[in-house]
Symmetry: C2
């Protein structure tokens, strides 16, 4: 089945906001096995919206519109769609009651224009809105199914998950399932080369790669008669990907981020952790602290930006800074060791580099970053050369540091538990 | 004049990436005074792209396409646009030479398919690409002007700024200029109320408000015969906004961020700064460190997540933590004082709060954040209640802390310099 997306809003046309609803809906629809060939953005204008909607009705089975369901006169998506589909509006009592209840809960009175939101097209399937006053609407016409959703993401996302996804699934004779294999420490083009044969030969399941900063995600999607059948198709492909990428696969769970996988490793092994950051200025700590529950293992971190502070708080030697410079393997190593000593943490990570735009030299160009990871006495140092602007270099450094932490902790336990490598 | 945007790329249709090029081009075109009524996303498919382009040619004066100029067979934007416009392709020697030079500089050999990028439509205006191998193209047809730009943002943005913006400006009989008044410490709805009369009465200049996390930006845009005339129209409105928002206006410069305005204050007054963060986990430091040149004043920062660390490194009293808790006015105050003492900085900022999702109580709900700013001996504490998820609460706290820093430093100097308020 073919879906088409129409995002309504003058603020998108003016570039005031990025069209994240479009990306959200596109990804969800792709995950449900729907084909999407066109996305359109149009303003709050009845004539132009009608034009776009009529075009979409002529070429898609399902048209999803988001935005323009608010209470003001500017909001006219519902009125326009109802007119194009030939469905008059009527006052939908349950929606009116829901709006009253929504305001009552907040101790507020609805204004007159809120009742506009309870006016719904005849014959519509009504989708409850837990987080706002605009109900969602599904109109089943002869040409296509038209789905109207509110624009605010905190209303749109739950409504899609709870009402629209099950509805779309029910239209499909087959169930679509997917699993994402998340990989760190392998570059995008290398990862693509490693799965090119699988992509070329794909039928069901299909596989697609997504490049993220310092990560590659591979989504495996299958369609089948039921969920169990679909997962049965997915499983061997996930197994194959795990075999190809080995320890670089950090999770196959949708909600697990790279920092969460590192935090889980620390928590499961009761390892406390600290960070000593220079060019990243606290970003690594901030990413770890974004994981709820991290306080069990993360107690303390430092941003050691100046050489003096690197010496005073981390014990980096004056001779090291003089001989090798602040951005060097040796400084990174001493920073990590010093941070571990200072904080008494089991794991200590340091980052020192040149984020630019200035400060680069022929020998040490902008983007050069050294990082070190100390795990219970052993330090591993890594040299990286990143590209991009200051922000991009810092983000890349943080992802690389998380990847380094993960591999150092895994290596430590592979030795400790199995005595595999060193004695 | 009316512009229409077409972003080409299957990865946008699948929701793999957010269409930031669309937002970038939309904002730039709005800034140039062009009206945009439609944006379309379409995949790398000749038939569907032709269909979308023909529709756009029929309703716009200028059509800008981005993406699909790469060297592979999948990339067919240029071939399709040339066909729709009836312009055959030919080998453009200067572009071929530019591609050779681009590869030579990187010490690489072009592959055979790179020459495809030097094949350009007859009669095209060619736009040089400093950052890649795909030249941009302007086709002037009877129906409309068609502009083809590469998809990667690091190629698209400079090409737009350097070549496309001047071209579009030359088409306009009038020059469009704008100034953004950036405001901190005033809520979105309050700011909107404060300028509602100006918005209702607007003609030339127009004014528009943009809500950002912890900030509001007001853009004043005017059209006139030349830049000087346009700025003459803008100036009184900017003056009026400055009068209304007073010290809350932190800049009117496009490239100045809130953290840069704080950094500039610190640098200009030779004030060193430190941060002691709990729930924000390093985000405040990271934002300050994102300002190039900050190393002059920012030497050291701490993430003090546990109570023990707050006591050990910041000297927060055991009795304070027991009596008031870690999330309290008193703890925030002692954290800032302790951070100043420990780091010997002139300015010290602390943040302690409950970012959630767990840890909230009736008395201290999720989103409650205390922050303190120490300036040369004087501490100001602020209590905030934020909403949203963990990430949003942390971002809001950082913006509020920057706003607090700014007002405390300004207040310090107003006293020191003019002896206005306290003696």
């Amino acid at each position: 089945m073919v879906v088409e997306l129409i995002c309504v809003g003058t603020e998108i046309l003016l570039g005031n906001i990025v069209n994240t609803n479009g990306a959200y809906l596109a990804e969800k629809c792709a995950g449900l096995g729907l084909s999407c060939y066109f996305q359109t953005v149009v303003g709050d204008n009845a004539e132009r919206l009608s034009q776009v909607l009529r075009t979409a009705l002529g070429r898609a089975d399902i048209v999803i519109l988001s935005g323009g369901l608010g209470p003001t006169e500017d909001d006219l998506t519902k009125e326009t769609a109802a007119k194009v589909c030939g469905k008059p509006l009527y006052l939908h009592e349950p929606s009116k009651k829901a709006i009253e209840a929504f305001f009552a809960q907040k101790g507020l009175e609805p204004t007159d224009n809120n009742w506009k939101q309870a006016m719904l097209p005849e014959g519509a399937i009504v989708l409850a809105n837990r987080n706002g006053t605009a109900p969602g609407v599904i109109l089943e016409t002869e040409e296509a199914r038209v789905i109207l959703l509110p624009g605010p993401p905190n209303e749109l996302y739950p409504m899609f998950e709870e009402s629209v996804a099950p509805y779309l699934e029910s239209l499909n004779s087959q169930v679509i399932c997917s699993t994402t294999v998340k990989i760190c420490g392998v570059g995008e083009s290398k990862a693509e080369t490693m799965v090119k044969d699988l992509i070329d030969a794909q039928t069901n399941p299909t596989i697609a790669t997504y490049a993220k900063t310092g990560e590659v995600h591979i989504r495996v999607t299958a369609g089948a008669g039921d969920k169990k059948e679909a997962m049965k198709l997915i499983k061997p492909m996930v197994k194959e990907l795990k075999a190809r990428f080995g320890n670089h696969v950090y999770t196959t769970e949708e909600e697990t981020t790279l920092e969460k996988s590192v935090a889980d490793l620390l928590l499961a092994n009761h390892l406390t952790v600290t960070c000593a950051e220079s060019c990243t200025g606290g970003l690594l700590s901030a990413r770890l602290v974004n994981v709820p529950g991290i306080s069990e293992v993360y107690k303390f971190g430092m941003v050691t930006y100046s050489n003096k502070v690197k010496r005073r708080f981390l014990g980096v030697k004056k001779s090291t800074l003089q001989k090798h410079g602040a951005v060097s393997e040796k400084t990174a190593e001493e920073m990590a060791k010093g941070a571990a000593l200072m904080s008494k943490a089991d794991v200590a990570v340091s980052i020192t580099g040149i984020a630019g735009p200035d400060g680069g030299t022929e020998e040490k160009p902008v983007g050069l970053v050294y990082m070190a990871c100390y795990v219970k006495g052993k330090v591993t140092v890594k040299k990286c050369q990143f590209s991009g602007n200051r922000g991009k270099i810092r983000e890349s450094a943080v992802s690389a540091a998380l990847t380094l932490m993960r591999s150092c902790i895994l290596e430590y336990f592979s030795k400790v538990t199995f005595g595999k490598k060193e004695s």
